[in-house]
């Protein structure tokens, strides 16, 4: 019958020494060399403390039913300016020719969050008027839930101009998040939940679109229309309205955030331990070599000799 190893077990030797001895000093030095360098290596190789991380989330976006539309025509004195802002439309009411506005938001995958906006404006131009440039501001309510509860009023702006008189303007675009700063990992964040086109605020100062956009672009978190496909169709019959149609998608976003304390500790811990293991193994070998060969004097206790 063949014999095989059923079970094996190690012998444990104990090396003993006094507190004030070379062995104690040696062990202390080895301990420091085992514990400190992994920390330094982990830190100096960068990424020890994770300062930013990403997550993906589809934002909860709603069209606020607020907009500003400026159409420049060939008669400079008579542009078309439409807005849902009462004050704005009040002072320039003679330019408002937007007779019909349609908006519809759709949740395609039925996850409770809207995925796209269909927006259409019909503008009654005079017969001889020709539209040449379109500037459209759409305002959205933008919410994120996963990490911090984030809410802001955000802007999507499209501008297009053509030398050819247009009949309709179609655009498809994505409403994308732009971040200058990391978001928090918890709590409620309504820093930017303030009006983008605040007429009450703007009008006491000198209202100007550059100022408005400058202030908006200064925000740490904002939205921008990207991946836009504008299409300008020419040839408007005299009795038909000029149509602006926009399809805005609300895609899932990769959001940068500042990790919380335990997440930072977890990753730092992992990195430290992984390097520490190597050091422990190496210095264990060194120690056993030193004590087995009695390079440093110590008392070796053999388990089967209990007589010392």
């Amino acid at each position: 019958m063949a014999v095989y190893t059923v079970f094996s077990e190690y012998i444990r030797y104990e090396y003993k020494s006094t507190v004030c001895s070379k062995a104690t000093l040696f062990i202390s030095v080895i301990f420091i060399l085992t514990v400190i360098p992994p920390m330094l290596i982990a830190y100096r190789s960068y990424g020890f403390w994770i300062k930013s991380d990403v997550y993906r989330e589809q934002p909860d976006v709603h069209f606020k039913h607020e907009y500003l539309l400026i159409i420049e025509t060939d008669t400079l004195e008579a542009p078309v300016i439409c807005s849902t802002y009462q004050y704005f439309s009040q002072i320039i009411k003679e330019h408002n020719h937007c007779t019909m506005i349609k908006s519809r938001e759709e949740d395609n995958n039925r996850d409770g969050k809207y995925d796209e906006l269909y927006f259409e404006i019909q503008v009654q131009l005079l017969q001889n008027q020709a539209a040449h440039a379109v500037t459209l501001f759409l305002l959205f309510d933008y919410k994120l839930y996963k990490m911090s509860s984030f809410q802001m009023e955000s802007l999507g702006m499209i501008q297009y101009s053509s030398s050819l008189p247009g009949a309709r303007f179609d655009v498809v675009a994505d409403l994308r998040l732009t971040q200058k700063q990391l978001l928090h990992n918890r709590g409620r964040d309504v820093r930017f939940n303030k009006a983008v086109l605040n007429m009450e605020d703007i009008f006491p100062e000198s209202f100007s679109l550059p100022t408005l956009l400058k202030n908006y672009a200064k925000r740490n978190v904002s939205t921008i229309l990207k991946n836009a496909y504008p299409l300008w169709t020419v040839g408007r019959p005299a009795d038909e309205p000029f149509i602006i149609s926009a399809v805005i998608h609300y895609p899932e976003e990769t959001i940068l955030y500042k990790p919380g304390f335990w997440q930072i500790m977890k990753w730092a811990w992992i990195q430290y331990i992984s390097i520490l293991v190597i050091f422990v193994c190496v210095f264990r070998t060194v120690k056993s070599y030193v004590f087995q060969n009695q390079l440093i004097t110590s008392i070796k206790c053999t388990p089967w000799k209990k007589d010392y």
């Binding site: 400079l76 300016i81 009462q86 004050y87 320039i92």
Partner: protein, 742 residues
């Protein structure tokens, strides 16, 4: 095995899942073997799918009669390439069974649509055992959607390509090119069997596909997960509002009229609307403004204590418009209205109209001044005179232009805080404009305290503010005749910031303003923190090259232009009497707050020569550029950094030879003009020292030893000679050598 139920959404699912893991593996294994079996025998059914948003499956039975269905069977799972659907034959046969069941239950599905031409294979028996469970589940899960024929839109008429339309006869169907697909029952892709509708020869067939995967849901005990909850119809307004409140969405804003409110009780302070009274009617005092482009589009209400200025353009297209357009006529801006001193003087609620005429101390008229020419350098009071009335815009048919149109209106409003406005001045500049052009109008409103006399505007307090002019002046010394008194020094500075440090600008045609009369040449102020470069052209004619003195005159003119008359009589850099304030609030008495501008070199016209050969005239050694370097640093706290100018240097560029190339021999044409460019530039250099904490150095301990402690090693001792030291070393290290020496 069909009795196995995986109840999802339940905590028990996990336990159940683990406990039945083995069984599922068995199912999976069995499915695998089944598939293999069928695959080997009946591998003649091929389904292709187009990868789009939804998956389109077009099945091809026996690789013949391919009918590409225009509508698609939606499917949520990712699926690529061509897939062989196994077991289709058998499941198609069960469709007959299931539809038969449906007809038994009285559901409106026409059995005639199912052609029982599909042969049941041997394997159908094995599969029909499992599939009825699926069909049963499907019927439970989606009893409604099963019956929806969404494409049947016209009543009593056969909808084209709508195969489930009961109005279509078999003959009608022959006209169809494809069938509108019905959506599948199963919403959850985790089910073991996915049901789709497949159309073959315009015949609707049900396809049950066996899903691959380690786990799948055989039977769903909670089919409600995939059905919408029913809502009751709302009948009362209360119910409607309640339901609406719970589902708050953004909607179109309500129509409301915005109008500044007249409130006599509110304190009259910064931001309150200024009211004008026109024929007993209260209207906000407003000025034209632009909104989206350069034209005057709207009128903007003015607010108390808010300085404002704006420009906008007014077109004058025809004669009638010239005379009738309100904004072109000066009368609009001072006549026909009075300004309300403060709303608190009127004890009426706002009803747009006052009951009686406004008393003279409550409503004050506008005092109008006519200003001659728009010169920024001359004070407003010198160029404007008070007038009682102004001419309105008139069309001058002889000259064909619109006369006396408003170019600029400046309102200066003196006030006493909450007490209200004390005086309203309007300074009006008039001009003429030709028809069919646009006139750029400027309107501004400034507020001044009634008690103020003359205000001096600082450029910052204490540090400079970016964009404010850099203060500069000359040092003057007041010499007292009597002995013992120290001469007083001070800096002389102009009250007008535009006369401070400035660089030459160009006129509209790009020429330098060489002949600009004293104090009115076109110059740009050097503003703190903004690097500038301006250039202009100097035009020369042959007369500038006639003699060395003519060249010297040209040189002098350029230097004067570049330095702004500062370097005129300077012979050495130390004489340069030009000082820049280190802080924005520097006091003129305190010369320590001012730093002398360093002149790198005095541009002297040394060569003073003019040379002319037959084709060119030359003035040698003309300096054509200046560069001003201003060095500043932030001082004080990091939270409120204050910019301090440390010093500045005027550097004149290297001298150039100005050449005039003649077009013909001897430069006959006196009227010919050629030009050279004169450049002025300003740079600001930030030399801020970063905030670095400097620690005190550790104290040095002086360790004292008796002076002869190292006696043998000092130079005067006999031992420290190289040879001795060598012996000492050798004695120490090589005792054997020592012994041998002895």
């Amino acid at each position: 095995m069909k009795n196995l139920v995986l109840k999802m959404g339940n905590s028990a699912a996990l336990i159940l899942g683990i406990s039945t893991f083995c069984f599922y593996v068995c199912i999976y294994a069995q499915n695998e073997t089944q598939s293999q079996e069928i695959n080997s025998t009946e591998a003649n059914i091929v389904c292709t799918n187009n990868v789009t948003d939804d998956m389109n499956y077009v099945c091809d039975l026996d690789k013949a009669n391919v009918t590409p269905s225009s509508a698609a069977i939606t499917e949520t799972e990712d699926f690529n390439g061509t897939t062989e659907i196994v077991g289709l034959e058998s499941t198609l046969s069960t469709e007959v069974v299931s539809i038969a069941n449906e007809t038994e239950s009285g559901l409106p599905v026409t059995i005639s649509t199912v052609k029982s031409e599909i042969q049941t294979t041997k394997h159908s028996e094995t599969t029909t055992e499992t599939v009825p469970a699926t069909t049963e589940m499907v019927l439970e899960a989606q009893p409604v959607s099963n019956e929806i024929c969404a494409c049947d839109l016209s009543m009593n008429s056969c909808d084209i390509n709508c195969c489930c339309d009961g109005d279509c006869s078999d003959n009608d169907r022959l006209a169809f090119s494809a069938c509108h697909t019905r959506t599948s029952f199963n919403f959850d892709s985790r089910h073991c069997y996915q049901t789709h509708f497949v159309y073959h020869n315009n015949t609707e067939l049900k396809l049950v596909r066996n899903e691959d995967g380690l786990f799948c849901i055989v039977r769903d005990n909670l089919p409600e997960r995939f059905t919408y909850q029913n809502r009751k119809v709302v009948t009362t307004l209360l119910e409607f509002n309640k339901l609406h409140r719970n589902h708050k969405t953004f909607s179109w804003p309500a129509q409301e009229v915005y109008r500044p409110l007249f409130d006599s009780s509110a304190p009259f302070r910064q931001g309150s609307v200024i009211w004008a009274v026109v024929n007993r009617t209260l209207v906000p005092f407003s000025l034209p403004m632009k909104v989206t482009h350069a034209l005057c589009q709207a009128s903007r209400a003015m607010y108390y204590l808010n300085d404002w200025s704006g420009t906008c353009q007014v077109p004058a297209s025809d004669v009638e418009r010239c005379e009738s357009h309100r904004e072109l006529s000066a009368n609009t801006f001072y006549k026909g209205f009075t300004v309300l001193v403060s709303p608190q003087f009127i004890n009426e609620t706002y009803d747009n109209r006052l009951k009686e005429d406004c008393p003279a101390d409550v409503c004050i008229p506008v005092t109008v001044h006519l200003c001659s020419e728009l010169k920024s350098k001359i004070s407003l009071f010198e160029q404007c005179t008070e007038v009682s009335d102004l001419q309105s815009a008139v069309y001058n048919s002889a000259l064909q232009h619109c006369q006396n149109v408003v170019k600029e209106v400046r309102y200066m409003i003196y006030h006493n805080g909450t007490v209200g406005i004390t005086k309203v001045y309007a300074y009006v500049w008039l001009t003429n404009m030709t028809l069919n052009t646009r006139l750029s109008q400027k309107f501004s409103i400034t507020f001044h305290w009634a008690k103020d006399t003359e205000t001096f505007h600082r450029s910052g307090n204490p540090g400079y503010i970016v964009g404010k002019p850099v203060m500069s002046g000359k040092k003057v010394t007041q010499i007292f005749g009597t002995e013992g008194e120290i001469d007083k020094e001070a800096i002389e500075i102009d009250e007008n910031p535009e006369k401070w440090l400035s660089i030459a600008g160009a006129k509209n045609d790009g020429r330098c303003d060489l002949e600009g009369n004293e104090g009115n040449s076109l110059r740009y102020s050097v503003t703190f923190g903004e690097n500038r470069r301006s250039s202009c052209m100097i035009f020369v004619s042959p007369s500038n090259f006639t003699s060395p003195s003519a060249c010297a005159a040209l040189h002098k003119a350029v230097i004067q232009l570049l330095s702004g008359n500062m370097v005129a009589n300077v012979t050495s850099a130390k004489e340069f009497n030009f000082y820049i304030a280190t802080f924005g609030d520097a006091k003129v008495e305190d010369t320590g707050d001012w730093t002398q501008v360093i002149l790198e070199s005095v541009p002297s016209f040394l060569t003073s020569s003019s040379r002319s050969d037959d084709w060119t005239l030359t003035c040698k050694g003309i300096v054509t550029s200046i560069h001003i370097d201003i060095m500043f640093a932030n001082v004080g706290s990091l939270a409120v950094p204050q910019a301090k100018i440390l010093g500045s240097v005027f550097r004149f560029g290297p001298p150039h030879d100005i050449m005039f190339t003649c077009s013909s021999l001897h430069c006959a044409h006196e009227t010919d003009e050629q030009h050279f460019e004169v450049v002025s530039s300003v740079s600001f250099v930030d030399v801020t020292k970063p905030a670095i904490v400097e620690f005190a150095e550790p104290p040095v301990y002086e360790v004292k030893l008796p002076h002869d402690f190292f006696y043998p090693f000092f130079s005067n001792s006999p031992l420290l000679r190289p040879s001795n030291a060598l012996v000492l070393v050798s004695l120490f290290f090589f005792p054997s050598v020592q012994s041998r020496l002895h």
